[in-house]
């Protein structure tokens, strides 16, 4: 159980990587951009991969009437996400420490994982909503208007995950270091649960 608790603490602490590393990354390559433009999505805001990438993405997007990439103060998520992540990390550590001293059962580890997963899914849902609005809430006076075969305006929504071709741009959207650290951390809390359960089952059968 002690090992499980240590793993639980360590897994929860990995969430803190999100304060240093991006959660997600979207790269936009095109014939004219052999070195793709890119945005790194942090829990507290969006930054360019290279210094002027955001400015250049906005510059290109103005032709199709897309809004500029939001500043941190323009989206509530960028102030709430850090608090949620910090809170979950602290909660995980507390559960781990209590587990270490036998004050709580391993089931709390799973509880934390489920809570984190729900929050994560909500986050993803919210992120996807933003992508939809970013890609489809277009200026009606846009310079270039592209329509789908059915006549509806084309959406420039970047993919939530994976690759998509948008006009001349190849768009790739994947988790980044912070995201991977979070996934590993969450996985570790599952491992902690499994280890805790095994120890507990062993103890009962003996």
């Amino acid at each position: 159980m002690k090992t499980a608790a240590i793993i639980m603490i360590f897994g929860s602490l990995l969430l803190l990587g999100l304060f240093k590393f991006p959660l997600w990354n979207i790269m936009l390559g095109a014939p004219q951009y052999p070195d793709p433009l890119g945005m790194n999505i942090y829990i507290d805001g969006i930054k360019g991969v290279e210094e002027f990438d955001l400015q250049n993405i906005d510059g290109i997007n103005h032709y199709i009437g897309m809004k500029t990439i939001p500043k941190p103060e323009e989206m509530w998520e960028f102030s709430v996400f850090p608090k949620v992540i910090l809170g979950m990390s602290i909660l995980g550590v507390v559960i781990g420490v209590l587990g270490f001293f036998g004050k709580v059962s391993y089931k709390f580890f799973l509880g934390w994982f489920v809570l984190m997963s729900v929050l994560g899914l909500l986050g993803m849902y919210d992120f996807n909503n933003w992508l939809i609005s970013y890609g489809s809430d277009l200026d009606p006076n846009a310079i270039i208007k592209v329509t789908n075969p059915d006549g509806s305006p084309m959406s420039y929504k970047p993919p939530l995950f994976g690759f998509q071709k948008l006009l001349n741009f190849d768009v790739t959207s994947l988790p980044h270091t912070g995201g991977y650290l979070m996934f590993v951390g969450m996985l570790l809390t599952l491992v902690a649960f499994w280890l805790g359960r095994r120890t507990s089952v062993k103890a009962t059968t003996q």
Partner: protein
């Protein structure tokens, strides 16, 4: 009868052998570059990069061109001494000061000898220097922006030919005069040349951090002609060697009168000794007028300053600093091998190539084995300083570079060939023709302490039938050879721009990652910049109208201007707001009597326009910047001189 037949058969066989041998030689020469293995050596696949940069002087174009090796593709023409309407260099208000001289605005020159900055005798790729031959000037070009940053005029000089060569830590860029002239200039009979004219050899100190140039001293040498020069390397660091011709001091029909002496000289100059002398207050300040033009990367603006005096050194004041090494027959190139031991005098009218020994020279100086003097400068004995001669290597030796493996490569103008020979044994190892009448050759780093001896290219003066004919005037040719093997192998024949007088080449990896992509807008300190739309405005100052304008894909701000009058002078200060690689914008005004502008991302440039006719006149972007480039345009309304229409400007109304 049988015997006769046999002899005949044998003769025929020998003749056939000779002919076929000739044929194969010829076909090799003709189709060499078509052979597949050769083609592969110069093929740089689409999207791939060349392994080397070559900076080839433009001669009478006054500029410097940038090529890739081994492909021979031209990447850029860098304007240096010549106005360049392509991007407005020398026309825009910011760059006009670059071409100021003590003779006024001189918008052209004859650029000859580029040389890349060095640290410890190795190419460091920070700057490249080049001389303006006609109106004596030295330019420094940044190898991060690939733009001319600085030009300094050289006073007391005329025909700035033995220039611009760099000492091994870029302490100095050296400029020698080709013509000797009265110093100071004065009204005097030309026939009194002898003994009265002087040849100024100028040592320009280079600031190690910024590269800024400042004339440290000039040595006023006897009135010979100083053709080429080269710094000592390694053991001979601290010395500089100049070839001379016309030691006869003739002032007319030089082709005959300057070719009479059996030997001219290589002047060996201990510049460290003269530097110490000058640092201790030696020499004297002499009145002189020369400009120093500096382009500031932050303000994007050049300024021209007129300097009023220069420090001159009379060789007689400092005995033991200068010696003369007799060298046969009007030597041209003066080349020092990577070890610094051998000084090659390419006696252009001599049948042999003369190589002097630095060690023997020091020894002869120590033992004071002099053979008279010229105007007080000791002359050493030819035999005492001679290291060896390459016997009968070709006709008209001009210039030698080295591969760092103990071999030297010399061009022969008259016999139109490059000859490879061995240092120390002086044996000829190989020879290959050039097409035609080769001047200089270049090996990347081939005049430094550490050559990169993979390629050599020869730059020719005559093209004739090498390319599709283009009328009487053709670009010159250059040939690229692989010198990594025992024998030189001709790889490629490519045209150059202007006169490819000489070149400097360097492995690409030394500089390519330093190449700037944009100028940072946040660091733009141009006094008339506009970095956001709110900064754009039009301001009248008497007859002068200043337009603070911005460009970004795909519009000008403002794009409509009214209130300009005939007789005004309109200054368009255009700032390119882009911060994206390779997105310059152009600015072109109808009827502009100067040029267009090409404005790099983050840069501000100013075009002056003097409207002469009433009307509504358009301007537009000349650089195809975006899908809506064609829409990037605007109007200036020009009213009669006496109208009272107020200035106004707009965008998107």
């Amino acid at each position: 009868m049988k015997k006769t037949l046999k002899i005949t058969v044998a003769l025929v066989a020998v003749l056939a052998g000779l002919t076929s041998c000739n044929n194969s030689e010829k076909s090799k020469g003709r189709s060499g570059a078509l052979a597949s293995n050769v083609a592969e050596k110069v093929y740089v696949a689409p999207g791939e990069h060349d392994s080397h940069y070559a900076f080839i002087s433009g001669g009478y174009s006054g500029n410097l061109t940038v090529y890739g090796l081994p492909s021979g593709r031209m990447f850029k023409e860098i304007p240096v001494f010549s106005q360049f309407p392509t991007n407005g260099y020398g026309y825009s208000e910011e760059t006009k000061p670059m071409l100021e001289t003590s003779f006024g605005f001189v918008p052209w020159d004859d650029s000859h000898h580029p040389d890349i900055s060095q640290t410890n005798g190795k190419l460091d790729g920070r700057w490249i220097f080049i001389n303006g031959n006609n109106t004596p000037r030295i330019a420094r070009i940044s190898l991060t922006t690939f733009e001319t940053e600085e030009i300094i005029e050289v006073p007391n000089s005329a025909g700035n030919h033995s220039s611009s060569f760099i000492t091994e830590n870029t302490e100095y860029v050296v400029a020698g005069t080709r013509f000797s002239v009265p110093v100071p200039q004065r009204d005097m009979p030309i026939k009194d040349y002898k003994g009265n004219f002087k040849g100024a050899l100028t040592f320009i100190a280079v600031d190690p951090e910024h590269g800024h140039m400042d004339i440290k001293f000039q040595i006023l040498m006897p009135g010979f002609n100083y053709d080429l020069s080269h710094p000592g390397r390694g053991k001979s660091h601290g010395w500089f060697f100049f070839t001379t011709y016309n030691t006869e001091e003739a002032s007319t029909l030089l082709e005959v009168n300057a070719s009479q002496n059996d030997k001219d000289f290589i002047a060996a100059i201990n510049w460290k000794k003269i530097e110490a002398y000058v640092n201790n207050g030696g020499g004297k300040m002499m009145p002189a007028e020369y400009t120093h033009n500096l382009h500031d990367e932050a303000t994007h603006t050049a300024t021209s300053t007129m300097k009023k005096e220069v420090r001159v050194v009379d060789p007689a004041e400092i005995p033991g600093a200068i010696y003369l090494l007799p060298t046969p027959k009007s030597p041209h190139g003066c080349d020092v091998d990577p070890s610094g031991e051998y000084i090659v005098g390419n006696g252009k009218l001599s049948a042999n190539l003369t190589v002097h020994s630095f060690t023997k020279m020091l020894d002869a100086i120590e033992k004071k084995k002099f053979d008279g003097d010229a105007y007080g400068i000791p002359i050493l004995r030819f035999e005492d300083v001679l290291a060896g001669s390459v016997e009968q290597p070709g006709l008209g030796p001009l210039h030698t570079e080295f591969d760092g493996k103990g071999n030297a490569y010399t061009t022969f103008f008259i016999s139109s060939e490059v000859v490879k020979w061995k240092l120390g044994t002086w044996e000829v190892l190989d020879r290959k023709p050039t097409y035609y009448s080769v001047g200089h050759l270049t090996i990347p780093g081939g005049n430094s302490r550490e050559p990169f001896g993979k390629y050599m290219f020869a730059m020719n003066k005559i093209t004739k039938d090498r390319y599709l004919p283009t009328g009487p005037e053709m670009e010159h040719s250059a040939q690229l050879y692989d010198i990594s093997g025992d024998k030189m192998e001709l790889l490629l024949d490519f045209p150059t721009h202007g006169e490819p007088h000489y070149a400097a080449a360097i492995p690409a990896e030394i500089i390519k990652n330093n190449s700037k992509k944009i100028y940072r807008l946040a660091e733009n300190k141009h006094p008339r910049k506009a970095t956001i739309d709110a900064d754009t405005k039009v301001v009248r100052d008497g007859k002068n109208v200043h337009v603070y304008m911005t460009t970004i894909r795909s519009h000008f701000s403002p794009d409509n201007i009214e209130g300009v009058k005939v007789g005004d002078k309109v200054f368009f200060h255009v700032t390119n707001l882009e911060q994206d690689f390779d997105v310059p914008h152009g600015f072109a005004m109808i009827g502009a009597n100067n040029a267009e502008l090409l404005i790099s991302p983050g840069q501000t440039r100013t075009l002056t326009w003097e409207p002469k006719k009433v009307g509504v006149w358009p301007f537009y972007c000349t650089d195809f910047c975006s899908a809506l480039h064609q829409e990037m345009q605007g109007y200036v309304r020009v009213s009669p001189a006496d109208s009272n229409i107020e200035l106004s400007w707009s965008l998107g109304d």
